[in-house]
């Protein structure tokens, strides 16, 4: 495994691509791969957004749309959930931003295994194609819910129980292979390819978040792989890993007494760290956006790092709080409730530190900053309802209601998306060399921020009323008042408006690519290395002939006596930093 030490090569040795294909298609440049990842993830995310719109149409106006039958509805729910969590958020945060930012922020020329990195993207694309192919097979995609619980996921009566579930499991397995190839690159690059002076504790929090999330992914995705393989064997070969002995549609099946709960444990042993695989990069990126746009060093850098690491560790011992209603020993319920509440401590610490960074900061209400502040709101709200649901006694009546839907959408749907938007508005000038349009950006922010509250705040009340999630129609339930339907209709209006307002963002992305104001070097006055490249956007190899040398941490903002209100990480002592 003799490997080219790409991080320390001079430019001539970097085999700069010359043809169109090697530059843009089969590229091994981390920046191009990041853009490929991002475009694919955003595309598939838009598909999932349309699916959520269709779901909301059914919920808001039942018996109105003939093309949405119960099967189609369940398929929309399932594909929306799976696409958003895995194929959009994980891929965009790690494959997109991880790829783009890691080498630039740590002062490397590229990832340490560029070829593997390229393979990672193409494998990811294959997983997306396999997933989307399930829309076109007999029976359509699986409608088992994004958790794919057996036995119903592979039994008759569940939509897509034949081809749909097989393609879903295959796609997940392929995705995990793709993630592994990318993930190995991210952790190895962070550990081994940092430039001179870039100690671990001088890394921007973005890198800490992405690094820890990748380690979590490398250790958690095997659980999903194990469950996918075993479920696939149950489906295709007729093994009984998860499938109990049962009678289906009056027919006794050959399964001999497996354990569906075993699947749930495996799934959530992956599923809960997955929440933090999405959240930690978002935590990191929002920290950097807040510090840069408040012109103030991040409050409690060390604690922020410790919190990221602690959350990463704790995320592996809370999984069964997703399974309180599956029947478990009360002592286990107590254990998992306790660990769940403990994980709230480092998380709350981070929220306090973001707020304290803003306190007496020189806050610039730029579009990235608006989204970052929006994130603090949505994350706090989503986190607080998490404290409710983490307790067994409160979770039992609220489980499988819209309260849960509202909670997890606020905490791991809207919040990471807010950070993704903050990050896209923040780093777009570096990626393209042009600024995104501010007016359009602000319109996009207010529609999205207020709109998501209009969607999810009322949903909590629906949950309190006991309205169950995943139901195609409520039917005549005495305990659900008619006003719940009006609330549902208003949520649908808000959801459609939020969905449509994303077109403003897409338009802004495309319009600004050619007509946006030229960004120049470092338009936000940021300190971290990615803004200190000789070219904007950075060229292949990132740094010209010499790698940067790091002299300080990434948060020297508003240093008293300094010439400017920021000191880049690669600026030596004595240049503009005298007191």
């Amino acid at each position: 495994m003799q490997h080219t030490a790409i991080a320390d090569q001079i430019e001539e040795d970097l085999h700069e691509p010359h043809s169109f294909f090697t530059t843009y298609i089969w590229s091994q440049d981390h920046k191009v791969i990041a853009i490929q990842y991002s475009i694919t993830a955003i595309f598939v995310g838009l598909v999932a957004l349309v699916l959520s719109g269709l779901m909301r149409l059914q919920l808001g106006f039942p018996d109105t749309f003939d093309f949405i039958d119960p099967s189609a509805y369940l398929q929309f729910v399932t594909m929306h959930g799976m696409i958003m969590v895995i194929y959009l958020l994980t891929a965009l945060l790690l494959g997109g931003f991880g790829n783009y930012l890691i080498p630039l922020m740590i002062g490397a020329r590229d990832m340490v295994f560029p070829y593997l990195n390229m393979l990672s993207f193409w494998t990811y694309l294959l997983s997306v194609i396999v997933l989307l192919a399930s829309f076109f097979v007999p029976g359509g995609p699986t409608g088992a819910g994004w958790t794919l619980y057996p036995p119903q996921a592979i039994l008759q009566g569940t939509p897509g129980h034949d081809w749909g579930i097989i393609l879903m499991l295959a796609s997940l397995a392929i995705f995990i292979v793709a993630f592994t190839m990318g993930g190995l690159n991210y952790v190895t690059t962070v550990l081994q390819a940092r430039t001179h002076g870039m100690t671990l504790m001088r890394m921007p929090l973005t890198i800490w978040g992405i690094f820890t999330a990748t380690v979590l992914g490398l250790l958690a995705f095997p659980a999903l792989l194990v469950s996918a393989i075993m479920m696939m064997l149950d489906k295709v070969i007729g093994t009984s890993f998860f499938m109990p002995a049962l009678v289906s549609l009056g027919e006794s099946l050959d399964y001999t007494g497996g354990s569906p709960i075993l699947f749930q444990h495996l799934f959530w042993f992956f599923g809960h760290p997955e929440v933090y695989i999405v959240a930690l990069p978002a935590f990191g990126m929002v920290s950097d956006v807040i510090a840069t746009h408040a012109r103030k060093n991040i409050f409690g850098y060390r604690m922020m790092v410790w919190a990221i690491v602690a959350i990463g560790g704790l995320s592996f011992v809370v999984w069964a709080h997703h399974m309180y209603v599956s029947g478990m020993h009360p002592a286990f319920g107590f254990f998992f409730a306790t660990t769940t509440l403990i994980i709230a401590v480092p998380t709350a610490l981070k929220v306090y530190n973001w707020v304290l960074t803003l306190w007496r900061g020189n806050i610039h209400l730029t579009v990235p900053m608006l989204f970052a502040i929006g994130f603090i709101f949505t994350f706090t709200h989503g986190g607080l309802t998490g404290l409710f649901l983490g307790n067994v006694t409160i979770d039992l009546p609220l489980s499988d209601t819209y309260f849960v839907v509202a909670h997890f959408h606020m905490v791991m749907g809207v919040s990471p998306i807010m950070v993704l938007f903050a990050a896209l508005y923040h780093w777009y000038p570096l990626i393209t060399g042009r600024m995104l349009h501010t007016g359009l950006g602000k319109a996009h922010f207010w529609f999205t921020f207020l709109g998501t509250y209009a969607i999810y705040l009322p949903m909590h009340y629906l949950g309190f009323l006991g309205v169950p999630r995943r139901y195609f129609a409520m039917g005549g339930s005495d305990f659900i008042p008619e006003s719940a339907q009006s609330l549902n209709a208003s949520i649908t209006f808000a959801a459609l408006i939020v969905g449509l307002s994303q077109l403003i963002f897409i338009y802004n992305l495309v319009w600004s690519l050619r007509r946006g104001e030229p960004a120049g070097h470092n338009p936000w006055g940021a300190t971290s290395l990615e803004w200190q490249t000789p070219d904007v956007p950075p060229r292949h190899g990132n740094w010209g002939p010499e790698l940067p040398v790091v002299h300080r941490w990434a948060y020297d903002f508003s240093v008293p006596g300094a010439e400017r209100d920021f000191i880049p990480q690669n600026q030596p002592e004595g240049k503009g930093a005298e007191g």
């Binding site: 003799q2 080219t4 190895t188 430039t195 100690t199 009984s240 060093n297 060390r302 941490w553």
Partner: protein, 226 residues
């Protein structure tokens, strides 16, 4: 402990410090693959750990029948498994000998060692397939019993990892050969050898588990709380 010390540093103090940390690759070109290998072995360990945990959990359901312990069970006579284990152990030994020779720059011996390792690894895979066929002739199919399912599943997953190791080894040898730098073989070969020994260790664990009597399995399951 170094990690905790690192986490304790205060990066906002002493801005003049230009640490020597970073660009490890410039000093040691194997730094990156070595780190990657550690993560790969970590991941593979988690993968097998989870399979084994589910095996122990599943073993506590009434339809589970252990593969050994009684005369009518397929591995009451595990001699075939011992044979396969010996083949894999020979592969590991040959690999180690190849590495030992490569470190002494005895290129020919190293090549012989690697070739023997590849031969025995392929032989192991063939022998495992033969074992599958043998089980099927005895009427033990994948879905006959959960323990059988686990046997086929775990041997398949382990075999795929051996196959992956062979592909990486082929790539390493080809690259070193192509660059005409056989003298530098020992570095990457060290990593391959680590992986080989690791897979032997995994196999020994699987072997012990799959041929355990029902009492042993129940005891392990009880220790895990099942």
């Amino acid at each position: 402990m170094r990690f905790f010390k690192t986490l304790g540093t205060k990066p906002w103090l002493d801005p003049t410090m230009v640490s020597t940390a970073g660009v490890a690759l410039a000093v040691d070109p194997l730094a990156a693959p070595r780190t990657a290998l550690r993560f790969i072995m970590g991941m593979v360990s988690v993968l097998f750990f989870l399979f084994i945990i589910t095996f122990l959990s599943r073993s506590q359901y009434p339809d589970f029948q252990a593969l050994a312990g009684q005369p009518w069970q397929p591995f009451s006579d595990p001699s075939r498994l011992w044979l396969n284990t010996a083949i894999l152990a020979l592969s590991s030994l040959a690999m180690h000998w190849g590495l030992w020779s490569a470190r002494r720059e005895q290129v020919n011996r190293a090549v012989v060692g690697i070739s023997a390792a590849v031969f025995f690894a392929v032989a192991f895979l063939v022998a495992q397939l033969e074992l599958w066929r043998h089980l099927q002739t005895m009427g033990y199919y994948v879905n006959t019993n959960p323990a059988n399912s686990y046997f086929y599943l775990l041997t398949a997953v382990h075999g795929l990892h051996v196959l992956g190791g062979l592909m990486v080894l082929a790539n390493v040898v080809f690259r070193v050969w192509y660059d005409g730098a056989m003298a530098r073989l020992s570095g990457p070969l060290t990593l391959c050898t680590h992986y080989w020994h690791f897979l032997l260790g995994v196999w020994l664990l699987l072997f012990a588990l799959l041929t355990s009597r029902v009492e042993t399995i129940n005891m392990l399951a009880a220790l895990c709380g099942f």
